[in-house]
């Protein structure tokens, strides 16, 4: 006689059979990815952008891209601004995170909101405000003002990430360091900073990516020299060419690589589910064009 066990070993997981939901989810996924896929595919299309289906695949557009001096000048400009923004935002963001984490001072609540404001406000407002400021102090527009805009706005990203990293540090370690005779300054360098290493790298990667892609604030602060997004923007006004598809594809590939690295580092540094912290950070995260 065979005794059947029924139901007793049902796993605690939610039943997975939901065909409609699955199909819907797949469709939504497709909606999110399809435009990018189209973009990439047409960067190899000889006959330009449009029409269907793409025939005659070619690398010509990439060759044209690599010969295009103006684009690469713009890339260099973007990289310089991004690197400088990372330096500024990380430094001030670290101090701000420390201040919010450890000090009480008048106006702390206001400061916290002010620092996070550029993340939530549409970029045009931050961009115009800084423009007015530049005019007010007779500062000519240039990559310098762009750097000012990026660096200041991205302090918010740095603060959020580093604050989360600080909270993970066991306060007792700093006390132990003081207890063993290290001055507060020594403690900062020998204990606090090494513990923040991963958070700093993750924040830096994110700030770099966001600065490279920034348009809205940059739009109003740009001088003679273009950053990459604005160079592309300028060309778009003149018409569509697959060369833009090519550079877009490259940007996409690079962004993907950076973000995956960022995600891995963040997971390692914070241990907790990154989605919780991403929710904090990205729920107030500034989208490039915002």
């Amino acid at each position: 006689m065979v005794v059947q066990m029924t139901g007793a070993n049902k796993s605690a997981k939610f039943p997975s059979r939901a065909p409609i939901l699955t199909s819907v989810a797949i469709l939504i996924f497709a909606f999110i990815y399809l435009p990018i896929v189209v973009l990439i595919v047409y960067s190899f299309n000889r006959d330009g952008v449009g029409g269907f289906p793409p025939q005659h695949l070619t690398l010509d557009w990439y060759r044209q891209l690599f010969a295009d001096g103006a684009i690469w000048d713009a890339v260099l400009n973007s990289v310089i601004v991004a690197a400088a923004s990372v330096a500024l935002a990380l430094t001030l963001g670290l101090l701000a995170a420390l201040a919010l984490n450890r000090a009480d001072f008048p106006g702390k609540a206001l400061f916290r909101r002010l620092v996070l404001l550029p993340l939530i406000l549409p970029g045009i407002i931050t961009g115009l405000s800084l423009l007015m400021f530049a005019v007010f102090v007779h500062l000519p527009l240039s990559l310098g003002t762009v750097f000012l805009g990026h660096g200041t706005a991205l302090i918010s990203v740095a603060t959020t990430e580093l604050f989360a990293g600080l909270q993970k540090i066991d306060r007792a370690q700093e006390e132990a360091s003081l207890d063993l005779g290290a001055t507060p300054w020594q403690t900062f360098w020998r204990v606090t900073l090494p513990n923040l290493k991963l958070s700093l790298i993750a924040a830096g990667l994110l700030i770099f990516t966001l600065s490279m892609d920034e348009i809205a604030v940059t739009f109003f602060l740009i001088g003679r020299d273009n950053t990459l997004p604005l160079e592309i923007w300028g060309r778009l006004r003149r018409g569509i060419t697959p060369e833009i598809n090519a550079i877009s594809t490259l940007i996409f590939a690079l962004s993907v690589a950076l973000i995956v690295i960022w995600y891995r580092i963040r997971t390692r540094s914070l241990g907790a589910k990154p989605q919780d912290l991403l929710e904090q950070a990205a729920a107030q995260q500034q989208e490039q064009a915002a």
Binding site: A12, F14, L21, T22, A25, I28, F29, F31, I32, P35, I36, V38, L39, V49, G50, G51, F52, T91, L92, L95, A96, A99, R102, F105, G107, L114, P118, I120, L121, P122, I124, I125, T126, L128, M132, F133, T152, I155, T159, D213, I215, F219, P229, I232, L236, I240, I251, F252, S255, V256, V260, Y263, Q275, D276, L278, E279, A283, E287, A289, A290
Partner: protein
Amino acid sequence: MYSRAYKTLITAPPLLWVGLFLLLPYLLMFAHSFWLVRDGFLVHEWNLQNYHKLIANPLYVEVLLRTMRIAASVTLLSVLLGYPLAYYLSFHAGARKELFYQLVIVPLWVSYLVRGYAWKTILGSDGVLNGFLQYLHITHEPVGALLYSPFAVIVMLTHIYTPFVFLPIYASLEHIPRPLVEASHDLGANRLTTFLRVILPLSMPGLLAGATFAFVLSLGDFLAPLLVGGPSGTMIANIVQSLFGAAYDWPLGAAISVCILLITITLLSLTERFEKRWSFK
């Protein structure tokens, strides 16, 4: 434990920087909205004319309303797309959850411009979509109304903000303890009822956060209309942009910006208050 010198050292620099380069500029914008342009020059006379112009001008009002309609549509669609995706990932994705999650956030960080441009190439008369439809003989001539319309703006912004709305909703759903769901089933509720009575209410904070975010950012967006909106898809931020450009009237532009700012802040405070009430932690 921290000396006063230490606390001053870490507080002063960011406070000063943010005060100088963030607070002051925002205040400047606020001040500009009360000034005037006369004979092509900025005049520092305090007045409310700009706000009168804003309210009295039917064009501005119309564009503002259109902008709010677009923002609302984008928000609604993003939620309608983002929620099922988050729900699927949280409750049905099983072991592949991490992978799918990464797949969703990757487009999030990819350039706004890149994605907007993609839609431009898809929706145009010579675009990919039209080519596709003609290829399948669904249509015989290009559908012109896809690009350069409010519709295109909505499609593009929805595409941009769906992952944004997904994130906080997913986080909320992940926070729901699974025993609650099991308890609901145990008490006799089917999946739909469980969703409506248990899961949806508990995911409200995330939903509100995401929706607010999408709305606020869509409201102030000026790039999408320039890319795919055309004249009929102009939004309020474009008006601001032109007032700071060719139409040189900074005070008026500032006034409109202040309005956008006010709407944003109001919405954010409302959401914060709602979130506190809805939060079940």
